[in-house]
Every structure is written in structure tokens, then in C-alpha cells.
Amino acid sequence: MSLFQVANDGLWQRLSDHLIVDLPIGDWFTLVVNFMQAHFDLFFSVVSSVISFVADNLTTFFNWLPAPVVFIALAALALWRVGWQFTLFVLIALYVVLGMDLWPATMDTLGLVLAATIAALGIGLPLGVLMAKSDVVQAIVRPVLDFMQTLPAFVYLIPAVIFFGTGRVPGVIATVIFSMPPVVRLMNVGIRYVPSENVEAGKAFGCNGLQLLWKVELPLALPSIMAGINQTIMLALSMVVIASMIGAGGLGDPVLAGIQQLRLGTGFQGGLGVVILAIILDRLTQSFGQRRRRASVFSRLAKMFGSNSERPSAG
């Protein structure tokens, strides 16, 4: 026993003195961030003004829209894409949001989520295509995506604040980074899993690279791509709430107030608002993942009026 202790104390101590080097990774990261802040000022201000232009306009626009217009627009989308039960849910849910006096916060959040999603898709979709087309790109991008997805969401907020200060812009940027991975991944997977005979058919009938992508790969990968977009939107929504910590505003504010001041009711109302927005966005974007038929509106109408579909059935 004592021998073990001696060995443990002495040997391990001596070994660790020699073998373990201090790695101040945190300091290095700080150095990098400081360096970037000092030398890429122009870049950050350009990014900042673009993002703030888009985000400000979207939030202003949704807040400017009269509530009844939003009711009608969302209800119409719900009826077209999902069904009357969901339409009923949308109407009730929006009414609840109005009743909780969270309408402006909800519209802010919707604007932020859309701004972040647009940016995430703008970068993520082409990146996913590149990743699908090149094994080298895939080998590089995949670990980066893993890193982006597993790093705790709060950690994004720190550099975002350093580069862009507080407010909407860093909130949107942190959200973009956090929510981009799924759409990149699912674009990649979707294209790679297009049946090889379909790709061969495309080539055999003389598609060039762009035609192959446009006429064969993207349409066949569409369900996967839409699943990616759906997940990106969901992640963006959850991050936007967290980003209220750095002043992004929206539905995160009542949640944050609830935590800081232990106001259970306020926090719950904010949370409920997020859930409602999440369900509406989720169901609507999911519905676009199902394969669309040009005839669908008509066949749905036909079904509504009880007549049989006039399309010939499989023989």
C-alpha cells in the first residue's frame, strides 16, 4: 500500500512535471479573436451592416403587418399544406399569443429566425453541394460541422459580442453558425444517396454537370434537403431565444426575465410563445418536404367535394 503511494506520489509527480505541458488554448483563442478584431474590421462592419439591414427590415416588416393579415396568411398556408385540423390549431395558437401580449416579441423572433435561416441556407446549401461533389471537401467540412454542433450554444455568444457588440446582429450571427450544420449535412447526404441509376440515367441522356445537379440530384434529394431546412429553422429558433442574453430581443426576453427574477409566470408565457412558433414553423416546413404534385391542390379540392380523383390508377 505504502509502496503504491510512494510510487504514485513520487513517480507520477515526476512524470507529470516532465510530460504535461501547459496548453493555454483559451489564451490562444483570445489572441486569434483579438487579432481578427484588429485587422478584419472592414469585413466585420460589412457583415454587420448586411445582417442588420436584413434582420431589421424583417422584424420591422412582421411588426408592421396587422395581426389579422398574419392570421390569414398562416391559416391559408396551413390549410393548403397540412389540413383543416392544423389550421384550427394555428388560429387558436395565434390568438393565445395575442392574449399573452407577446405579439411584438413573437414577430421579432420570427423576423430574426427568418433572417438567420436565410443566411444559414445561403451559405449552407451551396456548401452541402460542394461537400457531396468532393470527398476532399467532405473530409474537411465534416469535423468543422461536428465542432459547430457540439460546442455549447452559449459559447458562440462570446466572440459574437466581441466582433459585433450586443444586439440583433451578433444574435443573428451566432444563430447562423449554430443552425447551419443540419442543412449542410442533409444536402450532402441527400445528394450522395440519389439512386445511382437515376444519376446514370441523367448522364446517359447527356446532362452536363449543372443539368445533372438541377434536373436529377436536387429534385431527388429534395425530401432530405427539406428535412435539413426544417432542422435548421428549429435550431435557429432555439438559438434566437438564447441570443436574447446578448440583447437580440424577441421571445427570449420574457424567458430571460423569468430566469433572472424568478418570475415563473412570465418565463412560462415566453416559453409557450416559443413552442407555438416552433410547432407552426415545423409543421409548415415539414409539409414542403413531401413530394409536391402539381395536381395536389385540385385533387384535394376534388376530395373535399367527394368526387373521385380523375387521374388514372396504376394498372
Partner: protein
């Protein structure tokens, strides 16, 4: 069969494959060196991990023939057909279409060839699920940049040819397997290619539909003869549709010949094993033994009794098959019957061919088995015409041909 016809068609090589190799793996050149030293496929795989897909394949395909490539799975036939339009890049060798080597072509030229000259039908149909039947059919035309109105018109014609005009607005998942493959066929025909590659095109269909599709292919081929390369693992199918058959075994082409050649003189035990349990008189129906080597006369204005007689004289035949422009069989005329008919005519009378038809020539349907053919062929003074369900003339069977087929089946049985 088609290229031995007596109508004086000239043979023309459409597609020629010269010493083509395909090696799958990381260092194909290294494996090529081993192949050159004569090492066999299994040893190369065991020592280098590389697979010899196709090894030293050479054959010519004639214009207008159905050329079947047959082999078991893993014999390299699917790889082979994909090298004919360069979906798979050969490791070495040449593939020439009308004398031009597509392997050494630029991407741009290759795409042009794929859009214009060569199209393909796939085993799993490979239709685009997001497009209607019409859009799927027009796919090749759309790729080539043909305008919407024009390509829809041509796609409609192709759909009409395969009997699917009514389903133009359906989506692929609303169709049965056989219908899907008709769309696949229509898509390939819509670009009006001179070469049609069919990779196990009917293998995924159930036997009844399969036979139906084979008939469909033969019918389309009788309307407009294209050069068809047909891949199959099924002997019956190869025998039914093939003018010539190439048999592949572990990456090598072991024999090329007409179905008769291959049944009669199999090149090795592998080829023979395909036929081991096969009784020729069961395998073959009237369609298979019918020969297109009879002289034919097409019934039309100006084809008088005199003209027909002189055509028979020119070719030194004593009988000829008469069919109309749609190849529908009308009757058989002989020198004797024409002469008799002519004697009864005034000098300026054109005469009616129908009057000269020989009475006692029966016609048999394409599906008649060889055993049932004995009686009609034996009793007929001239070769017996074989017609399909629509009355189209497929070929004729003479006594000599029938006897030769039967004697072969005796040999096989012995």
C-alpha cells in the same frame, strides 16, 4: 438473321469494341501489367485487391441488329454496356461508334453523342419521380435544349409507340412495373437514337409482362430497326430477342454468334452449361427458327404480276412472300402460280397479285412450338410464313431449316 437477309442489305459495323479492359481499384495500371502477364482475375484480386471487371473484350455490332450480351451476375456485362456510352471509363481499349472512338473524345463531344446517338434503358427504370410520364419521356430532349412544344410533341409520339399516351400526365409511382419500363423505353426512343442500350431492361418484370415487353421490343424493331445492345442473364430472353449473342464469363467475352451457333457449337463448358437442361424443341418457337431469307414482294401500286415475276427471276427463287407496307402477311406467290396467272391476262392488263397466291401454304403464329410445326411445314410446298399476333410477317420456315433445328435437339439429347 437480319443481316443475312436476301434483300441485299449491306452489313455495316455500327459499334465496335476493341481490346477493352476495365479494372476497378486504386492502381489500375499496376493490375493491367499483371493482366498483360496473363495472371488470372482471382489471383490479381487476392494479391492487389483490384477487380478485373472486363478483360480484353472485342466485338463488332452491326447496324440494325439486336446484340445480346449474356452472362451470369459478376460476369462484367453491366460494366461492358456502361463503357459503350462511357458511363464507366475503360482502363484501356477503344469503343468506336460509326468509326469514332468515344473514349478519346472530349467531354463536350461525348455529351453530344449521348444526346443524339445513344440512349439507355435501365433495370430499375430510373425514372424521375418528380416528373410526369410526359416530362420523363421528354427528359433527353429537354437536356438537349429542345423547345417545350417540340419536345412534348416528340415525347407524345414515343409514348404512343409504347401504348402509354393515356398516362402522359401520371407520375411514375402511379404506374405498374411494366408500364414504368415502357416509359423508360419511350424516354430512350424519344431522342430517336441510332443505338439503344438496354441493361437488364426487363429483368425486374414478372415473366408474363416480360414476354410482352420482349414482343414490344421486337415490334418496335420491326418498325424501325435500331442497333440494340441488350444485356440479360436469361437464356430464354437472349434467344428470343437476339440476332447475335455474346457470352461473357468472368470479364471475358467467351463466344459471339447467332443463337443457333451458340447452341450448336458452344465454345466451352460454361457456355454449354447454359443449355444443359434445355431441349431445343422447347426453347424454340416458330419465331426463333423463322428466317428472313425468303424473297419478299411488297404489295403496292405498280407491283404487278409481271414485276413480281421478274423480281423472282432476278433472284433465282421459285417462291416469294407477299406482305403490305406494314409487313402484314398477305400470301405466297410462286413462279408457277405467277405464270399461270399471267397466261390468263391480256397484254395490257396489270393483273392482281392476289389472284396468283398459292392456296396450300398455311401460316403459323409466332408462338407455335417446334413440335406443332412439323405437320404444316411438311405438307406445305413452300416455306411456311410465321406471323405475330397482329398478322405481321416475321420470317418463314423451310423444311431444311426445321430439320436442322430438330437434328440439333437430337444431338443435345444424346
Amino acid at each position: 438473321m437480319r443481316f443475312e437477309s436476301a434483300q441485299g442489305e449491306r452489313l455495316k459495323t455500327k459499334l465496335s469494341v476493341e481490346n477493352v479492359y476495365k479494372i476497378f481499384g486504386s492502381h489500375p495500371k499496376r493490375a493491367m501489367a499483371r493482366v498483360a502477364k496473363g495472371e488470372d482475375k482471382d489471383r490479381i484480386f487476392a494479391e492487389t485487391g483490384m477487380t478485373v471487371g472486363v478483360s480484353d473484350a472485342s466485338f463488332d455490332i452491326q447496324e440494325g441488329e439486336i446484340f445480346v450480351i449474356m452472362g451470369l451476375s459478376g460476369s462484367g456485362k453491366s460494366t461492358m454496356v456502361r463503357m459503350l456510352n462511357r458511363l464507366i471509363e475503360p482502363t484501356s481499349g477503344a469503343v468506336k461508334i460509326d468509326g469514332r472512338d468515344i473514349i478519346r473524345m472530349s467531354r463536350k463531344e461525348l455529351i453530344k453523342i449521348r444526346r443524339r446517338d445513344i440512349s439507355m434503358v435501365f433495370q430499375s427504370f430510373a425514372l424521375m419521380p418528380h416528373q410526369t410520364v410526359l416530362e420523363n419521356t421528354a427528359f433527353g430532349l429537354a437536356t438537349a435544349g429542345v423547345g417545350k412544344a417540340e419536345r412534348e410533341k416528340r415525347a407524345m409520339q414515343a409514348l404512343d409507340a409504347v401504348g402509354l399516351k393515356a398516362n402522359a400526365q401520371s407520375f411514375p409511382d402511379e404506374l405498374s412495373g411494366g408500364m414504368k419500363q415502357r416509359v423508360g423505353l419511350a424516354r430512350a426512343l424519344a431522342v430517336n437514337p441510332s443505338i439503344l442500350l438496354m441493361d437488364e431492361a426487363f429483368s425486374a418484370l414478372d415473366p408474363l409482362i416480360r414476354t410482352e415487353m420482349q414482343d414490344e421490343l421486337l415490334r418496335l424493331q420491326s418498325e424501325q430497326a435500331r442497333t440494340v445492345v441488350f444485356i440479360t442473364h436469361d437464356l430464354d430472353e437472349a434467344m428470343r430477342v437476339g440476332d447475335r449473342i455474346a457470352i461473357m464469363q468472368s470479364g471475358r467475352v467467351v463466344q459471339v454468334g447467332t443463337p443457333e451457333d451458340i447452341v450448336r457449337k458452344p465454345a466451352n463448358d460454361y457456355v454449354r452449361s447454359f443449355f444443359r437442361d434445355v431441349n431445343v424443341s422447347h426453347v424454340f418457337s416458330a419465331r426463333d427458327v423463322a428466317k428472313r431469307n425468303q424473297l419478299t414482294v411488297i404489295e403496292r401500286a405498280g407491283m404487278s404480276v409481271r414485276a413480281a415475276l421478274s423480281r423472282l427471276d432476278d433472284h433465282g427463287r421459285d417462291a416469294a412472300i407477299v406482305h403490305d407496307r406494314h409487313r402484314c402477311y398477305l400470301g405466297t406467290v410462286s413462279v408457277e402460280s405467277l405464270r399461270i396467272c399471267l397466261e390468263g391476262l391480256a397484254a395490257d392488263d396489270e393483273g392482281d397479285l392476289e389472284a396468283a397466291f398459292v392456296d396450300d401454304v398455311p401460316q403459323v403464329s409466332a408462338d407455335t412450338s417446334i413440335n406443332e410445326l412439323l405437320e404444316p411445314v411438311a405438307s406445305s410446298p413452300y416455306p411456311v410464313p410465321v406471323v405475330d399476333a397482329d398478322g405481321r410477317y416475321l420470317g418463314a420456315i423451310s423444311r431444311a431449316v426445321l430439320l436442322r433445328t430438330l437434328s440439333r435437339s437430337e444431338e443435345e439429347a444424346a
